[in-house]
Amino acid sequence: MDKTVRNKVNIEIPEYIEGYGKVKPYAGAFETEPTGNKFAPKIKAFKNGEEKILKTLREGIEKSGLKDGMTISFHHHLRNGDYVLNLVMKEIEKLKIKDLTIIASSLTKAHEPLLENIKNGTVTSLHTSGLRGKIAEEISRNGIMEKPVIFRSHGGRARAIESGEVKIDVAFIGAPICDTMGNMNGKEGVSAFGAIGYAMADVKYANYVIALTDNIVPFPLNDISISMDYIDSIVEVESIGDPTKIATGATRITKNPNDLLIAKKASEVLIATKKVKNGFSFQAGSGGASLAVCKYLREYMEENDIKGSFASGGITAYLVELLEANLFESLLDTQTFDGEAANSLVRNKNHIEMSASMYANPHNKGCVAHQLDLMILSCTEIDVNFNINSLTASTGVIMGAIGGAPDTAAGADITVVVAPSMRSRLPIILDKVTNVITPGDTIDVLVTERGICVNPLRGDIKKLLEEANIEIKDIRELKEEITKITKVPKSNEYEDKIIGVIEYRDGTVMDTIKQIKM
């Protein structure tokens, strides 16, 4: 067997992984000091009279010089409604270019045609935040890719691009509005999706940038999120996507009584920490119990006349409501989840767009995630050391995303995980999670409907909760209580082949995902 090393979360990983390279083991949330310079793309010139708008996507790809073995990038703001990746891959397929690496900010079910590109060798390497559906199944169960998929957080991706750890040859940007020189934003037009934060690193560091748009307007666009100096070519397409499919169902406050119960308990925890006061900052994931926490916080803020500083992350209509109700000074947005929030970005100057790097990159001169007071995360599994998994199912199949979880958990003063104590008869608390995504030393509190657990590293929070008469359970005791009902699930068996590498935000390796034994 190859040489292995144990990282800070006690996971054994090889020192070298085929298709990935030499491994830097995770050593702690802020242990890696960046060195060297940022990467720089080629210098180019553009003269008066030249034309950026091309007739076809094919022409754009040819002009970019894309060849076998190169790296292309995509952003996933349109999520389940994205057409861009599939349009581009179809053309690349026709051009018979092979052995490509895709660096996507994330991949969704909309991208399932990519499976064919993988099977026929057009795509041989994937870097993403998340993976679901058939592609994830095929990779997890049948190991259809030779090289492991590299999973990064939103901040980790921006860092890897800026540092030059990944070099993008051609970036493809979906623009709902774009002028004839390439100035664009994500918030206007029929395909408007809001903030275009994930794509901002791509355009700055890629050697060639192609904008795909269904809405070309005369130069100059008056509201510019990505400017012309980064754009090589513009291609008009019929549609870049369907914004109604961005996040179906994830943006409304749940009516599920279990989620509401968890959210209520979580809000009581937040209030007990005494952090919910004038000027506090806050982030919560969309959907389920996580977003519902906002509902209860809102009640408390209104009753006590509290106004927060900012709320950040994925922005939903509900957060816009809080902004407009004067409960927060501003929203910081890297991914907008619905039309209402996209409109807000256009009309409200306190709804501020940010890049993924400004949001969460640990190796820049200051990121928003590190300014957070309170963070609410959800997870699929948590272990007795508070390590959490949000990427793989208990079956070992990849079915989720890293998102901004490791970034915000590391940055926020208090990170609260909300989760039901069991899902489909499986316990949420385990001795060991299927994969570690966010390390336990950055997670402070777990809230389930059956009890609240505080990380022993946070005696200060425990004391505050006790003062507020909130009952605290030891996480091992709560695990026993739950597994008394569910029993202990049978553990999975895996092949030796590594099909995924989970990088922490600083570029160290947190865990590996192995192919499931069939």
Binding site: P257, L261, M422, E449, I485
Partner: protein, 293 residues
């Protein structure tokens, strides 16, 4: 006098749904009532009963009191419900559609037989009689006094209005007689009266209004059909901090003056005598039960 249990909320759960057995206690109702009667289809009566029996043996419900709404004894399922569930651990049951003392006595006798057969202390099993018909409401007193096992009487407005031939309205004026009658009888019998369900769980304001009025009439709690109703009822039926504080001051002053059994004193300028003392005692008991002191 029987000691009244804290029963602000009784959360209805169909006994057929395994997930509810796990979820319902987490909402912390004072009691859960697993329904074997109306919520269960004819061909699922046996499986629902088996599920409940296994749950009673296997699960822990903590501080939450467990009731079953058994089928009436005049149906083919009522007796089997009792014979199967009492040995499995059921100690409290709601007898639906109760109209006479004879029905209570019949159930009481059956319980005695089952208790003896299974080595369970005679009298351990308790009954909540559900009054859901004009006749049941008329006979409320004889029902409440029919057995030592009766710990409460509850009101069911749906069948009651159906038999009365009236629509159930949101202002509930058609229920006024029955509700006052039931609360009054419970008071005489020294037991709890539990108010009827409110079906439109999206109408929180209407529900709150009905719960408040029920409390004003003398009910000790309310049956609930959705977890979201629990907090609303608990707020209505739990004394406020101000009421608790005032009651504690009164009881302290009464103790100091030694007038627990009679006499009059002034507390904060107001006259305190036996009725005021009793009220203060009730508030403190409720507050203790609700974990507020």
């Amino acid at each position: 006098m029987k000691e009244k249990e804290l029963c602000r909320t009784m959360l209805f759960c169909p006994a057929t749904n395994p997930k509810l057995y796990l979820d319902a206690p987490t909402f912390e109702p004072d009691s859960i009532i697993f329904d074997l009667e109306d919520a269960v289809k004819y061909d699922e009566k046996d499986s629902a009963r088996e599920l409940l029996a296994e749950a009673l043996k296997f699960l822990e419900f903590g501080k939450v009191e467990i009731y079953a709404r058994i089928n009436p004894l005049y149906t083919e399922f009522g007796e089997i419900d009792v014979r199967r569930l009492v040995p499995a651990g059921l100690r409290k049951m709601r007898l639906p559609m109760c109209e006479s003392k004879e029905q209570v006595i019949e159930l009481s006798k059956l319980l005695e037989e089952v208790e003896k057969e299974n080595g369970i202390e005679v009298g351990s099993c308790k009954i909540q009689a559900s009054l859901e018909t004009p006749l049941g409401v008329k006979n409320a007193y004889e029902i409440a006094k029919a057995s030592e096992r009766i710990i409460s009487i509850s009101f069911g407005a749906e069948d009651y209005t159906r038999l009365l031939g009236v629509d159930r309205t949101k202002d509930g004026s058609e229920l006024f007689f029955a509700r006052t009658q039931i609360a009054n009888v419970a008071s005489i019998a020294g037991i709890n009266a539990i108010d009827t369900v409110w079906a439109d769980f999206n109408d929180v304001e209407g529900f709150k209004k009905e719960a408040k009025f029920g409390k004003q009439l003398g009910f000790a709690g309310k049956s609930c059909i959705h977890p979201s109703q629990i907090e609303v009822v608990h707020k209505v039926f739990t004394p406020t901090d101000e009421e608790i504080e005032k009651s504690i001051i009164i009881l302290d002053a009464v103790k100091k003056a030694g007038i627990e059994k009679g006499g009059v004193i002034k507390v904060n300028g107001k006259m305190v005598d036996i009725p005021v003392i009793e009220k203060a005692r009730r508030i403190v008991t409720l507050a203790k039960g609700a974990g507020k002191i």
